[in-house]
């Protein structure tokens, strides 16, 4: 047993942390969100140059073949800086499906790695809740019909990866966003990102656009969600530790009754509780990424425990941070409320606390 990052991992962490603190200030983030795109092409290109977009892809597809540990490192740092760029959607989610399909997607992956192309995975439907294995969307006779919800970064996707059913088994298909019959509405999300409703009406699907079929489709979708779950959990851990740090700093500066409010014992203990929540969440993150990395038989149970804990701890840390910031906590100008927003969003994604406790109980 060895719980220390390797030198390579430490270097990666340092690189990301340095980038975020130098090039991703909260003010800059606010400007990025305010632009019509909702994220920054410039930043995305920097990600490409730094090689981050290649991180999880297999070597045969031009990637670095990094796994759960490195992704967790990346997302923990992203969480600290509240990065809004659609790494999760394009690289982790769509990337996983493209990289692991038996259909050769190396050209498209090359575009992703170079930063020129976004791909979004459309697997949620308006009535699906967290059950993504029973899509109402259908592919029959080479035609795709159906509606998808909460498609992350839909607006910028050159392709959609779509889950569907042919009435006997599950299919996962790659569809060009500009194909005839594809339309979408894009929405801002409350945490500074974008998502969309995407409709498919009699869209032609050729046989070689089917990335996965049947059990393989189910396995790929499950595995993709697992990776995404780990990533947002790591992001939440980053959000939490940064939130605690900022709250401690704020209370040291903020004076009331002639003293810094950090001198009030009630606030001190509250911050200690926040700190402990962040720490125990981090513990489950480490356990989870290591078990996923070593393909431990308990890995999925641990992953559900992590996501469940994140839901509870994230809410506590985020809410208390706002409370301890007082009026400033509810002001949109301050970063602190945005951590609460992102933590709230993360709990809702890929199964919330309640969902994962049930999963934990049945695994």
């Amino acid at each position: 047993m060895n719980l220390n990052y390797s030198d390579e991992q430490l270097m990666l962490q340092e690189q990301i942390a340095k980038f975020c603190s130098a090039d991703y200030s909260f003010d800059k983030r606010e400007k990025i969100i305010a632009n019509s795109l909702g994220h920054s092409i410039e930043i995305w290109n920097q990600f490409a140059e730094l090689g981050w977009l290649a991180l999880p892809f297999s070597e045969k597809n031009g990637g670095l073949d990094f796994g759960p540990i490195e992704l967790s490192i990346l997302f923990e740092e992203f969480g600290k800086a509240l990065v809004v760029e659609p790494y999760l959607s394009t690289v982790v989610m769509s990337g996983y499906l493209l990289d692991n399909s038996s259909v050769d997607s190396s050209a498209l992956i090359e575009e992703i790695i170079s930063g020129t192309t976004h791909v979004s995975t459309a697997y949620v439907e308006a009535n699906s809740g967290y059950d993504y294995l029973n899509p109402q969307t259908q592919i029959l006779n080479g035609k795709l019909n159906g509606n998808k919800s909460i498609v992350l970064n839909a607006k910028h996707a050159k392709y959609f990866i779509v889950s569907a059913s042919d009435n006997s088994e599950m299919l996962i298909a790659l569809v060009a966003a500009d194909a005839a019959g594809v339309s979408f509405n894009s929405f801002r999300t409350f945490d500074g990102q974008t998502c969309g409703d995407v409709s498919f009406e009699n869209v032609d699907i050729s046989e070689n656009a089917i990335l996965f079929k049947g059990d393989e489709a189910i396995a790929a979708l499950n595995e993709m969600i697992n990776y995404a779950t780990l990533c947002v959990s790591a992001e939440a851990v980053g959000c939490m530790s940064e939130t605690v740090k900022k709250t401690v700093e704020y209370t040291k500066e903020r004076q009331q009754f002639g003293v810094p409010i950090s001198s009030f014992q009630v606030l001190q203990h509250r911050m200690v509780e926040m700190f402990m929540e962040a720490e125990i969440s981090k513990s489950l993150l480490i356990k989870s990424m290591l078990q996923l990395n070593s393909k431990d038989p308990n890995a999925l149970k641990t992953l559900s425990s992590l996501k469940a804990q994140i839901g509870k701890s994230g809410k506590f840390v985020g809410q208390e941070a706002v409370q301890l910031h007082g009026g400033m906590g509810v002001s949109n100008e301050m970063s602190i409320g945005h951590y609460l927003k992102r933590l709230t969003a993360i709990d809702s994604q890929f199964g919330n606390r309640s969902y994962h406790i049930k999963k934990f109980m049945h695994l």
Binding site: R188, N332, G337, K341
Partner: protein, 389 residues
């Protein structure tokens, strides 16, 4: 002891119901039911309908044009309004400055301000908090220096709710620098049209523009706008804070919101969610009866005291809990965000309808445990006033 409403109370309730059925402005009603934001004029129409019914001063004594209702009648009135999904009755004039004026103001001030407050001819806002004075309200720095017939006011106020709509602001200002910070504070009424006042919006984390910063630069305020005595402002402020907490538990709105939540989640198999809703409901019942106990004490002649701090704390905790249950019951469909100008697409996102407002409400309600004296301050008050520690 008797838990049932008296015959008179039941008749009164019917009267309120009749008003709501017949005289509650239709255009306001429609918007409220559809969840559409109200305009300033809608709010004015709503308040004027109450005035025309003679009910604007629902918590005022008869001599100042109020109803003189008993606490139980007020409770019934508020319940029925919440049940009919009426807009809030804005507290700034009717619950805050109004009682201060009729309790501490001069006859001229009563004559000048009270009728307009009742008729909602003037929209008031509250100038208490300052950037440096939140929980430590008494440390406020906005200065008012007397020069001839005027006070010259300089400084700034913050978190000023709906200042963008306001005609008047009531302010705590420092007229003297004293040893004890609670002394030297005065209570001043200021016309928002006076030169030197600037209102800047503060956007809150739910994306809304509800609160503002208000800046005062050499603002000339006639001395006759001073309430009571110079330097006694803190006394009036404390009086007002006690009144502000009346009804702050927000029980009627929560009962209504719970009812909707139960409809939304009916038949869903999330045992843990259903159970949590039951746990919430039990505590809400407890809060409601705690408020009734306090009303009964008021009706018996006691003054609102530190008990109101319990209602503030528990009320806001439960409100926040409820908005959180809404968020969690909506799952990932909470993500698309409807800003103050609607969705940034012409279409409404998929997913259940209530999911589109869940997060905004959740975020908006974070403030309730901060404003009106944060819950931490309320606990300090209870510790001191009730427990004596």
């Amino acid at each position: 002891m008797d838990i049932n409403f008296s015959k008179e109370d039941l008749a009164f309730r019917q009267e309120v119901k009749d008003f709501l059925a017949n005289k509650y402005p239709k255009h306001v009603k429609e918007k409220q039911e559809k969840g559409i934001s109200l305009t300033k004029q809608d709010m004015i129409d709503w308040h004027k309908s109450l005035y025309e019914q003679g009910w604007a001063g629902y918590n005022w004594p008869v001599e100042y044009g109020g109803t003189g209702w008993s606490p139980i009648q007020i409770y019934i009135f508020q319940n029925e309004l919440a049940h009919a999904q009426c807009p809030t009755i804005l507290p700034f004039g009717l619950n805050m400055v109004g009682p201060v004026i009729y309790t501490f103001g001069s006859q001229e001030q009563k004559d000048k301000y009270l009728p307009d407050i009742l008729q909602f001819n003037t929209w008031w806002c509250q100038g208490y908090s300052e950037p440096g004075s939140g929980s430590d309200l008494a440390s406020l720095k906005t200065k008012a220096v007397k020069e001839g017939d005027y006070y010259i006011v300089n400084g700034s106020k913050t978190w000023t709710t709906l200042a963008q709509n306001a005609d008047w602001i009531f302010c705590l200002v420092r007229t003297e620098t004293t040893q004890k910070k609670q002394e030297g504070i005065s209570f001043l009424l200021i016309d928002m049209k006076t030169p030197g006042i600037e209102v800047k919006p503060i956007i809150t984390i739910d994306g809304d523009h509800e609160v503002n910063s208000v800046f005062f630069t050499d603002v000339k305020v006639p001395v006759e706008n001073l309430i009571g005595e110079e330097g006694q402002g803190w006394t009036y402020a404390k009086f007002l804070l006690m009144h502000e907490r009346f009804g702050i538990a927000g029980v009627p709105n929560q009962i209504f919101s719970l009812k909707k939540l139960k409809e939304i989640t009916k038949g869903r198999i999330d045992d843990d969610l259903q159970r949590e809703i039951a746990e919430y409901e039990i505590e809400l019942n407890a809060l409601e009866f705690t408020e009734l106990r306090s009303l009964a004490a008021l009706a018996n002649g006691s003054h609102p005291g530190a008990e109101s701090s319990i209602l503030k704390i528990k009320g806001t905790e439960l409100q926040q809990w409820l908005t959180d249950i809404y968020v969690r019951s909506a799952g990932q469909y909470i993500l698309p965000y409807e800003g103050p100008d609607g969705f940034d697409s012409n279409s409404v996102p998929s997913g259940p309808e209530y999911s589109h407002t869940a997060v905004s409400r959740y975020l908006n309600f974070r403030k309730t445990s901060i404003y009106g004296g944060s819950n931490e301050i309320q606990k300090n008050i209870i510790a001191k006033a009730i427990l004596g520690v």
